[in-house]
């Protein structure tokens, strides 16, 4: 996307985002394919965070069909979603702490640790990034042999390596002074603009769909929601850092408590008449899919709304009156993914 900026010396007077360069018309194409053929296409807008988009598309279809996913299927979906959240947060931290700050150390840290998680994805689903793993009725494959040991080994390594990020970046004025008190979003403005995800939790509002309206296996797992009240770019970065630790705790509990049983139910490929909306918490915010069915195997209308599109309204608001050197840090702290916003 482009940001068109009007400046007065070194200060920004007005900033306008210009989006739409990767608009592919997912909502229009989805009306001409049946519900199984839509799955790889609907997952592609966010390739780093694919399992959340997949679940958000499948959930209204299961609600309209009235099918109940077995327990083991919900646990496997939760495990995959939490692994995906850690990988996506490492990507988001690497972008702001590394590329937009002007060095490559954080970038290499984030991407190097992410490789271990991509190996785990490959072992479970067969693909590294875009899995298309959930289908109406359950999931496609069961946990393979040796998965539990490899997952616990990876979590032990991450626990050993994450304090290194703490020591190198958070006690170092070269990074901290660039991000502290830059792009402050107060609590009232955050609620009024309707931002979601780590941007909202970095401004002091404790809201997370996994706790407010639980889905999947989240009501049986024990975790916390990190919130910071300063509202600057450093606190948005710290929210992602703390969420990685909470996700690791969720994974340890889920892999210990997973029940035995079937992983999927057989359902016909048809959507009954009606409409339904879903709410899933992805790494960048809340995503919704609103599906209207008319009794055939193709949906009548699919409406998709993602976290990056909702956070876009904060960008022109935050950029008023700041120095132009602060623009990369503010843009990186919002963690904007252009394809997810344009669909």
């Amino acid at each position: 996307m482009r940001i068109m900026v009007k400046t007065d010396g070194d200060l920004i007077v007005e900033a306008t985002p210009d989006i739409g360069y990767v608009h592919r018309g997912v909502e229009k194409i989805a009306e001409s394919r049946n519900i199984i053929k839509n799955i790889p296409m609907v997952c592609r807008p966010n390739i780093a965070d694919d399992s959340h988009l997949n679940w958000s598309y499948i959930a209204p279809i299961e609600e309209l069909q009235g099918v109940e996913v077995p327990e083991r299927g919900l646990y496997i979906r939760t495990i995959l979603c939490e692994m995906n959240r850690i990988a996506s947060h490492l990507y988001g931290m690497a972008i702001m702490g590394g590329v937009f700050s002007g060095h490559t150390t954080m970038y290499m840290f984030g991407f190097g640790d992410r490789e271990l998680l991509l190996d785990l994805h490959e072992m479970l689903t067969g693909a590294r990034m875009t899995f298309s793993f959930s289908v109406p009725g359950g999931v496609r494959r069961d946990l393979p042999k040796g998965f539990k040991e490899k997952l616990l080994d990876t979590l032990d390594y991450l626990e050993f390596h994450l304090p290194a990020i703490d020591r190198i970046f958070l006690s170092n004025p070269i990074f901290v002074e660039r991000a502290r008190n830059v792009g402050v979003l107060r609590k009232e403005d955050a609620i009024r603009l309707g931002v979601v995800g780590p941007v909202l939790r970095g401004s002091g509002v404790r809201c997370d769909v996994r706790k407010d309206a639980p889905y999947g296996a989240y009501d049986k797992l024990d975790f916390e929601i990190p919130t910071f009240k300063e509202g600057d770019s450093l606190s948005r970065w710290l929210v992602r850092f703390e969420e990685i630790k909470q996700s690791m705790a969720i994974l340890r509990q889920a892999i210990r408590d997973i029940p035995k049983g079937p992983i999927a139910r057989k359902v016909p490929i048809v959507i009954p008449r009606g409409e339904a909306i879903s709410r899933i918490e992805s790494a960048r915010g809340e995503i919704n899919h609103y599906i209207v069915g008319d009794g055939s195997d193709k949906p009548y209308r699919v409406k998709m709304n993602t976290g990056s599109f909702k956070n876009l309204l904060a960008l022109p608001f935050l950029l008023k009156g700041v120095h132009i050197g602060d623009l990369p840090i503010i843009y990186g702290s919002l963690d904007y993914w252009p394809i997810e916003a344009d669909r």
Binding site: P40, N172, I174, V176
Partner: protein, 157 residues
């Protein structure tokens, strides 16, 4: 922020120069691929009945059903239709493998599919049925959700 913590940050970075690296020196070292990896497809021609479900379910219209020359060897396929893949379009979702009712398609670990000529990207059914370098299929390990009863493999090449 004082000089001690800044120096500590630099020392932490210097320590990493002497640790092990995560990089793999491709192509001298190869990355280990687990079972069930989604590579190109493997076709068992003595199980395919020519129903065309794989062509119907494919999201990208990759598969077309074509006849083969030695049709007498495959009496279970009376209409003489076998799948042909145009790999430029394939997104490797493997819905065709999961939906096949007789288990005629399988996963392999082959991912080097680039060619110099455009015509070679279209894989005929005979070319799809060549097993890559002594590797078996993996379908008996996975219990698919499409409700198919998996037939155990009887061939080992």
């Amino acid at each position: 922020m004082n000089a001690v913590s800044t120096a500590g940050a630099f020392w932490e970075g210097v320590k990493h120069m002497f640790k092990n690296r995560l990089t793999i020196k491709h192509p001298y070292q190869k990355h280990e691929i687990p079972d069930g990896y989604r590579g190109r497809h493997l076709l068992y021609m003595d199980r395919c009945i020519g129903c065309g479900i794989c062509a119907w379910i494919c999201p990208e219209k990759t598969i077309t059903m074509v006849p083969v020359t030695n049709q007498k060897m495959y009496p279970q396929n009376p209409k003489n239709r076998f799948p042909q893949y145009w790999y430029i379009r394939c997104c490797f979702c493997h819905f065709c493998t999961d939906f096949c009712p007789t288990g005629a398609l399988d996963y392999t670990k082959d991912y080097d599919l680039a060619e110099y000529e455009k015509e070679l990207i279209i894989w005929s059914p005979e070319r799809l049925s060549r097993v890559p370098e002594g590797r078996q299929g993996y379908r008996t390990e996975f219990h698919g959700w499409a409700g198919v009863n998996h037939v155990p493999l009887t061939r080992e090449d």
